[in-house]
């Protein structure tokens, strides 16, 4: 008899909304330094709102760890980028160029310099990706037992560069191979207590998830062919637009279906299995509705701010006309009102996107996950703490990792 556990997300919009506002205000007051603590607190909330079998997860990371890791990372980054730039200068390539006087060759050199710089950062980006996931795992607990990942970030970097290169030269045909093997690399090095995860399955099984990407690409190819062979420009443009939008939706579909497949083929400790039923339509619907609401709120709010400011300027102008100092007070008050209103609107929009887009998608993801063979969980015991001091500093310095 196999025991089954259902994932459940019970976070609410209101507390998370105010937590975001509170931490964002603190971040402004403390000149941006508080952002590490802010992100940590939001993670704590989301982790603790995620439960399996009524036992919630715990995030044990701290803002200080993140801040320190970040300081270490910027020192290394600056040295590294400084050296890269020096080498580029030495090779006669540089980033400063006046577009009006530059010749064609100059522009080619400048573009080359930009791409070489980006490419030089690439290994660090991949390194950061692995380290960020490892840090999050090492700071996640369920029923008091830690998750963890092995210290293997450089292995990930070389493999990822190879896989992405293959994907690039095959025009994306081998993308499923890249996503499968990179996820496998990370999963096979992930632990819960003393039990190891394993990624089963085959990379070719991800191809059905690619179908909408192929259909979208097909539209664009047909469109280009029409333009080239029959000069049917209007039809070609229409087909290309349809194909483009189809591919965007197809990309979301791929990510969702790949997540479902990869989750369903993960095994913990050889005995415990998983199942995931995330729906592409729910993810896209949540996203579009969220964007529409945020767009509407922001246009109403900014219009209101402008109208109130305008009326305010008119009224103070009238009543304080007599004295210069009076109108100065009015102007200063108006300026303060404008700045405060502007900041309040921006904060509200940020909090809204967290509460009506990010959190519902996380909730949908968590609610769709099941664990099979859960009775074997009881055999697992604790692993030792991962004290890695650099946290996810590189990810913070390079600004990757998205919302959470």
């Amino acid at each position: 008899m196999s025991a089954q556990i259902q994932g459940r997300y019970h976070g609410k919009g209101e507390p998370l909304f105010w937590l975001y506002i509170k931490t964002a205000l603190l971040t402004m007051v403390k000149l941006g330094i508080y952002r590490f603590w802010a992100k940590t607190r939001i993670r704590k909330y989301i982790w603790s709102a995620t439960s399996a079998n009524e036992d919630s997860f715990e995030y044990t990371g701290t803002g200080l760890e993140k801040f320190l890791g970040f300081l270490v990372a910027i020192v290394i980054l600056a040295i590294y980028l400084g050296i890269v730039q020096m080498v580029l200068f030495f090779a006669g390539l540089n980033l400063f160029m006046d577009p009006e006087t530059a010749s064609g060759a100059d522009i080619v050199r400048q573009v080359a310099a930009i791409y070489i710089t980006l490419f030089a950062v690439m290994p660090l980006l991949l390194f950061a990706q692995y380290r960020a996931r490892r840090y999050k795992m090492a700071r996640t607990r369920w029923r008091g037992i830690r998750f963890g990942m092995e210290n293997a970030a450089w292995g990930y970097v070389w493999r990822a560069i190879g896989h992405y290169f293959l994907t690039l030269i095959t025009l994306g045909i081998l993308a499923p191979r890249a996503s499968f093997y990179l996820e496998k690399y990370m999963t096979d090095r992930t632990w819960y207590g003393d039990a190891r995860f394993e990624q089963d399955g085959k990379w070719t099984a991800l191809y059905p998830a690619m179908k909408h990407l192929f259909i979208g690409a097909g539209f664009i190819i047909v469109g280009v062919a029409l333009a080239a062979l029959f000069e049917a420009i209007v039809a070609a443009i229409l087909l290309s637009i349809v194909g483009y939008i189809w591919m965007i939706v197809g990309a979301v579909y791929y990510r969702v279906q790949a997540f479902n497949y990869l989750t369903a083929h993960k095994v913990l400790d050889d005995k415990i299995g998983f199942y995931s039923e995330v729906k592409t339509s729910t993810v896209i619907f949540t996203y579009i509705v969220g964007i529409l609401i945020i767009g509407a709120v922001s246009s109403i709010a900014f219009t209101a701010l402008f109208v109130v400011g305008f009326v305010g300027a008119f009224v103070t102008g009238m009543s304080f006309e007599a004295s210069l100092s009076g109108s100065m007070v009015g102007a200063v008050a108006l300026a303060i009102f404008g700045v405060v209103g502007y900041i309040a609107i921006l904060l509200t929009l940020g909090a809204l996107s967290l509460v009506i887009i990010v959190q519902p998608i996380i909730a949908h993801l968590v609610d769709g996950v099941q664990v099979h063979g859960a009775e074997h969980l009881d055999d697992i015991t604790q692993r030792s703490a991962d004290l890695g001091a650099d946290a996810e500093g590189f990810a913070d310095a390079l600004d990757i990792g998205g919302a959470i």
Partner: protein
């Protein structure tokens, strides 16, 4: 009936941190109220009330996850909000264990950032300044000059104008030719006068020497303008502005990263402002002065003109204004005036740098 000190433990669970099994518990406060007793099936765990903390930012109304300061892994979950009342220290600060290690890391990280801004960035900038090709330097100067013109304008859509009076420009060129006659310049000078009352002049990467109208109007004689001119050429020749631009860009880049780059576009503006009021190192200033003495000497101008300009502007404007802020804020001011006078001891063949007519034209360059 619930006994003395007993707390409702319905739904509560204890996780010992060794196995992922939530154990049902009974909860009781000791008679003196100082100890929380967690009764498991086979043993009783005692937590000092003063050491019990709750996990903050915990989702779920009324639910609490409790921990004990000296045990990093054990957790007690309770859905009963009344348990919290018996434990008054739940939200006290609880510095994590291993504080020494954290403090060490914090110290090391702060030092590293400091070293980076104070040592590494200047070092890299100095190296880069020597390697940056003239063309790149010029593009950097062009971009910065445009930035400065819009930064100083009253109206953001109407950048500050350069003064274009033909006779004035001719006089300025005449002065430039006299000063540079004996020099072999790596890059062509580009000399401009900005229509702005500030008493100041500055150099930019790419051979830019820029005067403000205020400085030309405040000068009593063409030799004083020539002296400042010579000083700025000195900066151009030693590539101080390029060095300074790279340094500022590096430091601002590091600081911008630290503060989350919330300043965004303001960085460029700030960089432009910094260049106008560039405080080069004392060594660079002294080198530019020395350079100016030679240039003045070769151009048959008394090198003391530089000192005279400093002295008079100091007398007239005090220590903190306009050109004083630019040229004279170094503690070595008197030494510099003295150095200028000493430099005059050699036999300089003195000839007026501009005749009265040209000088009048230069003074009216913005009209």
């Amino acid at each position: 009936m619930i006994g003395a000190g007993r707390l409702d433990a319905t739904g509560a669970a204890y996780f010992d941190g060794d196995s992922p099994i939530g154990q049902p518990v009974g909860l009781r406060l000791s008679e003196d109220g100082q100890t929380l007793l967690i009764e498991l099936a086979d043993r009783v765990i005692a937590w000092q009330v003063t050491d019990v903390r709750s996990i903050d930012d915990f989702a779920g109304k009324g639910d609490s996850m409790l921990r004990m300061r000296r045990d990093p892994v054990a957790r007690l979950f309770t859905p009963n909000p009344f348990v919290r009342r018996a434990l008054p220290h739940l939200t006290r600060r609880a510095p994590p264990a291993g504080r020494g290690r954290l403090a060490m890391w914090a110290g090391a990280a702060v030092c590293a950032v400091f070293v980076q801004i104070a040592v590494l960035v200047p070092f890299l900038a100095d190296q880069l300044a020597d390697y940056i090709p003239l063309k790149g330097e010029r593009a950097l100067g062009d971009a910065t000059f445009e930035q400065i013109k819009s930064a100083l304008a009253d109206n953001e859509y109407l950048p500050l104008q350069t003064c274009e009076n033909a006779e004035g420009l001719a006089a300025l060129t005449q002065m430039q030719n006299k000063l540079t006659a004996s020099l072999e310049l790596e890059q062509e000078l580009r000399v401009f006068v900005l229509d702005h009352p500030m008493i100041n002049a500055f150099a930019l990467p790419g051979g830019y020497v820029v005067f403000f109208r205020g400085l030309i109007e405040a000068a009593q004689a063409p030799e004083e303008v020539a002296a400042v001119f010579g000083h700025e050429i000195g900066h151009v020749v030693s590539r101080d502005p390029t060095r300074h631009a790279l340094r500022s860009a590096g430091s601002i880049g590091v600081l911008g990263l630290m503060f989350g780059d919330f300043a965004g576009g303001a960085v460029v503006l700030f960089l432009a402002e910094r260049l106008i009021d560039a405080q080069y190192s004392q060594g660079a200033e002294a080198a530019a002065d020395t350079f100016a003495y030679d240039v003045l000497h070769d151009a048959q101008i008394e090198p003391a003109a530089l000192g005279d300009m400093f002295q008079r502007l100091k007398d007239e404007h005090g220590e903190t204004e306009g050109i004083v802020a630019h040229f004279l804020s170094h503690p070595s001011l008197d030494a510099r005036i003295q150095a200028a006078r000493d430099a005059s001891d050699r036999d300089t063949q003195v000839a007026p740098v501009l005749d009265a007519e040209a000088w009048a034209a230069l003074q009216n360059i913005c009209k």
